[in-house]
């Protein structure tokens, strides 16, 4: 069976061992030539249809080795048996500076008709379309155009030697021919089994297959030794079994449509022709053994899923995992359909849907020139980098996580003065004769009594009374307000406001200023000293706001506090942001000013027990669950969510978001909260911080079991429920 090539064209490295290959060998053929298998057994088709030859090739996992030409120096690593290849570890400190990998070219093209497959049926489709005067694009894998997927549109994504190809077509014709049916019986996962077509290819390549046994529909099972087939057992018409020893089993069970691509899209404009569209006889229903070699699904797995009620083919696929692997049913679909037909004594069900990718591609190929969410930068981005910030994505923006020492940043806020970039906050201006009416209906707090120059904290609720967002309502004039929202919730909040204003037919203008204004939070007991140096002599009192120039930059100065210390948010035009930031840093040098990042900010807010919507909350979090009933004025006749809150107020509620404290270091956010009585999980930690000031671990988190516990176990330690705010509960410092 071991068969060195007559003429060596070079060597590849397989699992660290060099092996020789002949001219024209694929990687899979080169490996088979040594008497081994490229994967971990299973019938080889060598036509790119099954998943039995997948391996890592030159660092790329899940490559069909039968489709890759062996070249000198190619490095092949077989995937772990029954496991997945290991992912590479990446630890970039600053993702904004991450080097970009080699760029993969993407070409876009359009055609009236795109034909996939250049065999006889494909050529017929090409000729028919051309004779009708239509512009035709032919994609043939033999020419290097491997179609990865068909998508609504319809459109095609393909890989070719030039990179990735994106095709938009009025009509897509799938003419991919047929595949050889794989065996599904005991022992079909052994090595040394090949389809008839694969045997022809191996023989043509001069590979010695040893003692070969050809087997068809009389196949009962394979027997093996040390992972390789050693005999084929067949059953005759009279039910007698015959065992035939072999070194290679060649299977010919008929053919099935090569319809993976056709099954990807049922969209208008996609059709299959030729053998890819022809209903072929199904194999005998499998009785035992592996049905889906990609996922390892056995007949027993099908039985178990069926017995649970998953009797629709699409559901059976999901429940049993048959067909979810790389070949998307290319190997198992005929067997599963046959099995269902036998089970129901009815006709076989229509084939299940296939999902891209029909050819495994790298993340770089999938992402090449494909737009993912764009993360925004504040005008202070470069200032943060200059100051050594570690940037991270948060709420749709790049934000500084820390500047090297989050604890020092914390102390600057608590004992001195600090600046933070809050440009990412949502900012809307609303104006109009009906604006008070609109805001009274939208917010659960009072709005009409907010005087110009004053502001109020507000929750934003949906119709079910669940918290969507929070922020400030600042009254600029009788009929004009500024509203702020969380960074991540701003876009949704804007749509929410616009929808309701339009629904109610109220006369209110809305302007989104989120990306037009930057904002710097200046906070700490020395903040007034710093701002006075830059021109703010008469600072507004707590919850007041004024317009003032600071360091020559026109600012909307808002007095509020998220940190628990005296704080001012300076909202200003983008083009003044860097100058203002530098002026604050320069003027505060002798005060020990330093910037703070999100890590310190989250710790500061946690000590105050402030909620971060989206981080602490869930989709059905109510003000009551947060302990924030004070932010809801049920005496108001109407606001969004009021009816739901009134109704649910009469019901018991088994969830509360509360504070916890314990000695030692803070546990990981997300840690389970357990009952001290029986160890059962009764909640989870949403925020966690080792307080440098209070010298203990402080946490915020959910209790989901009544009666609510006074003591819980977190991270193997006992924690006690502790009223919030943990720090300055009277709020003297914020108002100072």
């Amino acid at each position: 069976m071991t068969d060195a090539p007559a003429e060596v064209a070079g060597r590849i490295v397989v699992d660290g061992r060099p092996i020789e290959f002949a001219d024209g060998d694929s990687v899979a053929v080169a490996i088979v030539r040594t008497g081994e298998v490229p994967g971990h057994g299973g019938c080889l088709c060598l036509a790119g249809d099954c998943g039995n030859c997948l391996a890592e090739v030159d660092g790329v996992a899940y490559v069909r080795t039968c489709q890759v030409a062996a070249r000198p120096g190619t490095v092949v690593v077989r995937h772990p048996a029954g496991g997945k290849p290991q992912l590479p570890v990446v630890d970039w400190r600053d993702l904004t500076l991450m080097p970009v990998g080699s760029k993969i070219a993407v070409r876009r093209t359009e055609a009236d008709v795109a034909v996939i497959g250049g065999g006889s049926s494909g050529q017929s489709a090409v000729e028919a379309a051309r004779s009708a005067g239509r512009d035709v694009l032919l994609l043939d894998a033999r020419d290097g155009s491997e179609v990865v997927g068909i998508y609504p549109g319809p459109s095609i994504v393909a890989r070719d030697p030039g990179g990735m190809l994106h095709v938009r077509a009025d009509e897509i014709v799938v003419a991919t021919g047929s595949v050889e049916i794989q065996p599904a019986c005991p022992g079909s996962d052994l090595g040394g089994i090949v389809t008839a077509g694969a045997a022809e290819r191996l023989e043509a390549a001069g590979v010695d297959l040893g003692r070969v046994v050809h087997v068809g529909r009389e196949l009962l099972r394979f027997e093996g030794d040390a992972g390789r087939v050693s005999a084929v057992v067949t059953v005759g018409m009279d039910a007698t079994e015959t065992t035939t020893p072999c070194e290679t089993a060649v299977v010919d069970l008929g053919r099935a449509p090569r319809d993976v691509l056709a099954r990807m899209s049922r969209a208008e404009g996609v059709s299959a022709v030729g053998p890819a569209a022809e209903d072929q006889p199904l194999p005998a229903p499998p009785r035992d053994g592996v049905v889906c070699p990609c996922m390892g699904t056995t007949v027993d797995d099908l039985e178990a899923a069926w017995d649970q009620g998953y009797t629709d083919l699409e559901l059976l696929k999901r429940a049993s995992w048959a067909g979810l692997g790389p070949c998307q049913g290319g190997a198992c679909l005929p067997h599963v359909r046959s099995w269902i037909a036998a089970r129901t004594s009815g006709p076989p069900p229509a084939p299940f849907t296939a999902r891209p990718a029909a050819r495994q591609i790298t993340l770089a190929e999938a992402a090449a020139d494909v737009a993912i969410d764009a993360f925004r930068r504040t005008p202070l981005h470069d200032e943060h980098l200059t100051l050594g910030a570690r940037m991270d994505r948060f709420g749709g923006w790049w934000r500084p996580w820390h500047y090297g020492d989050a604890v020092a940043e914390y102390w600057a806020v608590r004992e001195g003065v600090s600046v933070g970039d809050v440009s990412t906050l949502g900012k809307l201006v609303v104006s109009g004769p009906d604006v008070v009416e609109a805001l009274e209906r939208i917010y659960p707090c009072h709005v009409a009594d907010i005087k110009p120059g004053r502001s109020r904290y507000a929750l934003l609720l949906n119709e079910r009374g669940h918290v969507m967002d929070d922020g400030m309502i600042l009254r600029d004039a009788e009929t004009r307000f500024t509203l702020t929202f969380t960074s991540g919730g701003a876009a949704n909040a804007e749509m929410w406001l616009r929808d309701w204003i339009q629904t109610w037919g109220l006369r209110v203008h809305v302007m989104d200023r989120t990306m037009s204004l930057a904002a710097i939070n200046v906070t700490g007991p020395l903040v007034k000293t710093l701002l006075a140096r830059l021109g703010l002599e008469d600072a507004p009192r707590f919850l007041g706001h004024i317009r003032a120039e600071i360091a020559g930059v026109p600012c909307h100065v808002m007095r509020l506090s998220f940190t628990g210390e005296t704080a001012f948010e300076l909202h200003h035009p983008l083009d003044g942001s860097v100058a203002l930031w530098r002026a604050l840093m320069d003027a505060g040098r002798d005060l020990g000013v330093r910037p703070h990042g999100l890590q310190a900010l989250f710790g500061l807010r946690l000590e105050k027990g402030h909620v971060i919507v989206g981080m602490d909350t869930e989709l059905d979090t109510t003000p009551r669950r947060l302990g924030m009933d004070w932010a809801v004025r049920m005496e108001k006749p109407a606001f969004i969510g009021r009816a739901s809150l009134e109704r649910t107020a009469k019901l018991d509620d088994s969830r509360r978001w509360v504070g916890f404290s314990m000695d030692g270091e803070a546990p990981t956010e997300g840690s389970p909260i357990r009952s001290v009585e029986n160890g059962e999980i009764i909640g989870n930690v949403t925020g966690s911080w080792t307080s440098p000031l209070l010298r203990k671990a402080l946490m915020l988190g959910w209790q989901r079991r009544t009666p609510f516990a006074d003591r819980v176990e977190i991270d193997g330690r006992e924690a006690v429920v502790t009223p919030t705010p943990f720090y300055d509960p009277e709020g003297h410092r914020a108002r100072a």
């Binding site: 876009r108 020139d369 494909v370 737009a371 993912i372 969410d373 764009a374 993360f375 925004r376 930068r377 504040t378 005008p379 981005h381 923006w397 201006v429 104006s431 109009g432 004769p433 009929t479 004009r480 006369r507 203008h509 809305v510 302007m511 200023r513 990306m515 037009s516 204004l517 035009p573 983008l574 083009d575």
Partner: protein
């Protein structure tokens, strides 16, 4: 490479009829009607408008690139939605996945909020 530079102007939200009659101050003003009730006037130095509740704000939150034909061909490859066929019509959609506004013409204006400018430059290879 085309320059994608910050631009100043005025932004106004008002009743559609008031916006229709707005008088923009400044030379070489490009008015983009980004919604029936909203206009972005690039290069404007002020505006007179007949709506007492209009929100009128100076705007420095956008960046603009002026594209010649060759530049524009490089951008079109990153647009996967149908563009209007008439020139000077404002088109709004994603360019390389980044929200943007386009006014076809000679030159073509590519307008993006400044917070996205760096990302767009990077995606377009500028």
């Amino acid at each position: 490479m085309p320059a994608l530079e910050p631009v100043e102007g005025w932004r106004v939200v008002a009743t559609p009829s008031a916006l229709d009659g707005a008088r923009w101050n400044g030379d070489d003003v490009d008015v983009l009607r980004i919604a029936p009730d909203e206009a972005l006037a690039l290069g404007a130095t002020g505006v007179e408008i007949d709506d007492p509740d209009a929100i009128v704000e100076p705007e420095a939150g956008f960046s603009v690139a002026m594209l010649d034909v060759d530049d524009w061909h490089g951008v079109v490859d990153h647009i996967d939605w149908p563009l209007p066929e008439e020139p000077t019509v404002l088109a709004q959609g994603k360019v390389a996945g980044v929200p943007a506004r386009i006014v076809l013409g000679e030159p073509t204006l590519l307008v993006v909020q400044a917070a996205y400018a760096n990302e767009l430059r990077s995606r377009l290879g500028w």
